[in-house]
Symmetry: C2
Subunit: 343 residues, 2 copies
Amino acid sequence: MPAIADVARLAGVSKATASRALSGRGYVAAETRRRVQAAAAQIGFIASPDAASLVTGRTKNVGVVIPFVNRWFFGEVLEGIERALLAAGYDLTLYNLAPVGPERDRVFDFFLARKRVDAVVAVGVDLTDREVAVIARREKPIIALGGTAPGAPRLAIDDHAAAALATEHLLRLGHTRIAHLAGAGAGAAARSVQGQRRAGFLQTMSEAGLAPRGGVESVVVESEMSLPGGYSAALQLLGHPGDRPTALFAASDEVAFGAMRAAERLGIPMPSDLSIIGIDGHEYAELFGLTTIEQYPGEQGRLAVEAVLHLLGEGDEADPLPASGAPLATRLVVRSSTTAAPR
Amino acid sequence: MPAIADVARLAGVSKATASRALSGRGYVAAETRRRVQAAAAQIGFIASPDAASLVTGRTKNVGVVIPFVNRWFFGEVLEGIERALLAAGYDLTLYNLAPVGPERDRVFDFFLARKRVDAVVAVGVDLTDREVAVIARREKPIIALGGTAPGAPRLAIDDHAAAALATEHLLRLGHTRIAHLAGAGAGAAARSVQGQRRAGFLQTMSEAGLAPRGGVESVVVESEMSLPGGYSAALQLLGHPGDRPTALFAASDEVAFGAMRAAERLGIPMPSDLSIIGIDGHEYAELFGLTTIEQYPGEQGRLAVEAVLHLLGEGDEADPLPASGAPLATRLVVRSSTTAAPR
DNA sequence: CTGAAAGCGCTTACAG
DNA sequence: CTGAAAGCGCTTACAG
């Protein structure tokens, strides 16, 4: 492995000059720079990032904390982050951790407590004060995407508004018996993504004078935010004899797909007897004719990286923190899964 | 940020002793070790991995090259790798790169050419000789999982055998008009995963005396290995008037789901008029009643890490390279999507 | 069992 | 514009 000393020797300059010529920082005569670059290319020199980190204090590495990799939203976000980071010459260190458990503590107390990353972006996870403190103590910026991190900049869609919009869409179609397939923990964690969606639904319903007679539990069913989760929740909800809802607002498209599957299984004609709307804009949504509130996780990942780089002082210092404050883009896309309420 | 010198001072020992006490390498009196550990804990010292790498030459970091994150197989593998790496105290640096393109070159010529990772595991990607050489020159071991890397240890299921088994299953059910929904490039890249599956299908068919009259193109359709890919390929295949196949062997479960969707759309009753089998054991397979050849990507990821750690000399040197040579586990799981051929 | 010294491969003031 | 020197934070022979 050639070191910078080898380059310097070959180019007939000092290590300092070689370093300046290669990094582009500091003055170097054009001719000298060319000679150094040629020498580096000739022996295949590539600077050791670890050695550089040691003195600059910058690792050019960003940690990404994410609970899933194999759910559409998370996978898209991750790909978006990776693409943007790579383009900026940064590495991505992945911390894929279960929502709770000993692994999570280990990631925060050991992995992220070291000086291996310059910043962390937390995707779809609610960080505790303690977890934020661990990272803040190392003076590393945090960006929360989707989830929450107390005191950290947050990039997210307005989940409450998205849920309200989805619910409005169903109301306008004349539905009154509407149920919500919520994410697990929606009732308990009010500020979480699933909590906000549930709240947006309930508020819109009650503003329409449709407070549920049987209590909230009669119109909100929680399940894992996945296709199988939606399937089993919908199976219970729709299979129960009695006042079956005519419309379902699913907390995610994957949950909606599961619900569609359950309705098929139960022989409920769609959309005539059952309308379904989701949130996400999943890549399969078009194929399944699912009406949904689209969001753009790949782009969200890119924005998160932009914010991170800004916080790290890369690029134009003058620019404000991108997307700070304003909620991220969403769009209602109406397809065949929603129609007028049966009469 | 406390450094090891701070710990040493507080514990009243030298940096060398502090280092030995904390790392567990070298002799340290039990009492001294306790004192050092207490001091480290007191000031929240955690060794800088970069500084350690510089002298040990080990980064405790593994690079993962993977073309997708958001396809079931790849997502599962990634989670399996991450879990195993974390457990071993290693970081995972993600290189999610498009199958071809300038980004790919950049990853190999810059990112992986540096001394930032100890090893790389390449998932579902066929590395060129040049790419392997870049990494080998840095003396970093490579493990290929699913794809191929010339000269590197390979972990994979026997794709040819899996395809043969799937085809056999359909043949035994009396099907003779069987088509294969292959992955893109299956015909061109014989040694790739999709190429092997295609070959296994064709060989089994011809051994059964069922060489296609219309040429290979009449029974093999290539598409992207995704649900939408399978959908559009199957739509073409099944929508065409004439001798419609009675069974489909899809190169992956996601392709199979797409085909099921296409059949529904075309009003073809399943499984009575059309049997479908896939490969993967996708988490949705059970829900959709899909017969498939299961594989276990999470476990495969774990095995890949085991192999990497072994190559890096961690753990028992005596153990042989895990799973070297022998193909990884698969299992035929019969569900409702396959049945006897219509007569 | 412990410490002083050297060194891993860079970059950055500081002189000149 | 360039070089000598110091130093980032560790670990590892080498003495003792």
